[in-house]
């Protein structure tokens, strides 16, 4: 990308790319007095620490941090669509998107059907190298992330969630040399469990069963994060109640929690987002300053005190 911008004619010094560790190169950059704005993507812990560190200098900050995005599945939904979209959101990109689905909040009436179908779908994915077009899911991005995902699967088991599929490193068929984890579904997860609260960033879905819409909203909002969310229902009244009540910066109606379009503001609330949203018109607000110019062409001294 840097080569591309050089070829496009970016002047010297305007674009610099520094490859380095956060604790050295990163630390040096954020603490330099010439730096007047920081756009950060990473963990909530690092983002909030960084914000605290630079606040004294009045640095403008924008941060895109953790997420624990829920889908809410209501009884009158199109079940095929809800299952397919949840699978896409939870296991696509190996669950490594800030907008990935990690919680499915499902009303009791349809929970058995949802769970049966999502497990079936999770098992149907073919794992493997990304450059083989027949494969659906790739590996975790590195060894550290791979170990984190496996650690959370152990935590889920220990906390008493019911493991329905996956739950381990994927092996055989060319997978042994990569950081592959089987798509994993936990059922009967409760809101206090760590796998319902902490970001895993892997192909792990927690199913939380609830009795009705109101409990679904309480559970969906019972999170420190608020990036993305989805609702699956064909009841328009519930769609708009959901939109009113959900605590997230972005929400999707009958569509996966993932992604966002290039010209539309992107970001979250609660411990997910800080400062102006990335992308779209709000991105310009972050990178610019508004200057107000008062013009008086009377040629006389200003009258009155209304200013």
């Amino acid at each position: 990308m840097t080569e591309i911008f050089i070829e496009a004619g970016i002047p010297k010094g305007v674009l610099n790319m520094v490859l380095g560790s956060g604790s050295e190169a990163g630390d040096e950059i954020v603490n330099h007095p010439a730096v007047r704005a920081i756009s950060f993507t990473g963990s909530t812990e690092t983002g909030l620490k960084l914000n605290e560190q630079v606040a004294r200098r009045g640095v403008k900050m924008q941060a895109e941090m953790g997420g624990k995005n829920p889908v809410v599945v209501l009884e009158d939904c199109d079940m095929g669509l809800a299952v397919e979209s949840t699978a896409q959101g939870a296991f696509g990109s190996t669950g490594q998107r800030c907008t990935a689905t990690s919680r499915a909040v499902v009303v009791d009436k349809v929970a058995d059907e949802f769970v049966r179908k999502i497990v079936e779908r999770a098992k149907s994915f073919k794992l493997g190298r990304g450059d083989d077009e027949n494969n659906h899911i790739g590996p975790s991005v590195d060894e550290g992330q791979f170990n984190t995902v496996l650690k959370y699967i152990d935590i889920g088991r220990e906390d008493g969630a019911e493991l329905l599929c996956g739950g381990k490193r994927a092996s055989g068929d060319g997978l042994d040399n990569g950081y592959f984890v089987e798509p994993t579904v936990f059922d009967r997860v409760t809101p206090d469990m760590r796998i319902a609260r902490e970001e895993i960033f892997g192909p792990v879905l927690s199913v939380l069963r609830v009795k009705d819409f109101d409990e679904a909203m309480r559970v969906a909002n019972d999170s420190d994060y608020g990036l993305s969310s989805s609702v699956f229902t064909n009841d328009t009244n519930l769609v708009y109640r959901f939109v009113d009540e959900i605590e997230s910066g972005m929400t999707h109606i009958n569509s996966p929690t993932t992604g966002g379009e290039a010209h539309i503001p992107f970001g979250g609330i609660k411990h997910t987002g800080l400062g102006a949203r990335e992308q779209g018109s709000t991105a310009l607000d972050f990178y610019t300053e508004l200057k107000v110019v008062y013009v008086d062409y009377t040629g006389r001294k200003r009258e009155g005190n209304l200013y």
Binding site: E7, K12, N16, G130, P139, A283
Partner: protein
């Protein structure tokens, strides 16, 4: 095998830190794609100062002229889309279809930004007083700090590479004068590129 280096003040630099990190294909850990040279604190500081020094000219380059560079980058990304997608797949493990989608999204962001460069409109606001009004303009965020000027200047003298840039100091002042005289965006872009 590739060596990945930092790009600072218009140059690919060999880091003096002596520290490296491997770039490994997560789908096949025997596939070592390259080695990343990790920048030192001093190199990171130089990157910030390079950006700081470039800021004045870049800020004064009219937004549509800046946008033209971004737009050109978008076209180059389009031309190299498959290469970028393959690199993402090899470095991150994403499926190629996800990697192509990610690349397209990046192109879309670049296209949006290039387009916005021609729409940096403010507003005109009537006053409650006769023969008065107000208007707004959007300026690039960032400022020049005289204390930093001195510090950056002192450091600049220490670095021979940046010293060469100092020869343009006279040009730069002439540029400031010309800018307001001509108001020609094509010309100021060329000028910006010359200092670059």
């Amino acid at each position: 095998m590739t060596t990945y280096r930092s790009f600072i003040d218009g140059e690919w630099i060999n880091s003096t830190s002596g520290r490296t990190a491997p770039n490994i294909n997560p789908a096949n850990i025997d596939d070592l794609i390259g080695t990343i040279e990790l920048a030192s604190r001093e190199e990171a500081r130089r990157a910030v100062e390079a950006a700081y020094n470039a800021f004045r000219e870049w800020k004064r380059t009219p937004a549509p002229a800046r946008g033209r560079i971004v737009s050109r980058a978008g076209r180059l990304m389009e031309e190299r889309k498959e290469e970028l997608a393959q690199a993402i797949t090899r470095e991150e493990g994403k499926t190629i279809s996800e990697a192509r989608g990610e690349t397209q999204r990046a192109i879309n962001v670049v296209e949006f930004c290039a387009g916005e460069s021609r729409r940096m409109n403010g507003e005109t606001i009537p006053s409650e007083l006769p023969a008065n009004f107000a208007y707004t303009i959007y300026e690039p965020h960032g400022d020049r700090d005289p204390r930093l000027e001195t510090r950056a200047g002192a450091r600049r003298r220490k670095h021979s590479r940046v010293q060469a840039g100092d020869e343009h100091a006279a040009d730069r002042n002439a540029y400031d004068r010309d800018l307001y005289r001509s108001g020609n965006s094509e010309r100021s872009l060329e000028h910006g590129a010359r200092f670059g």
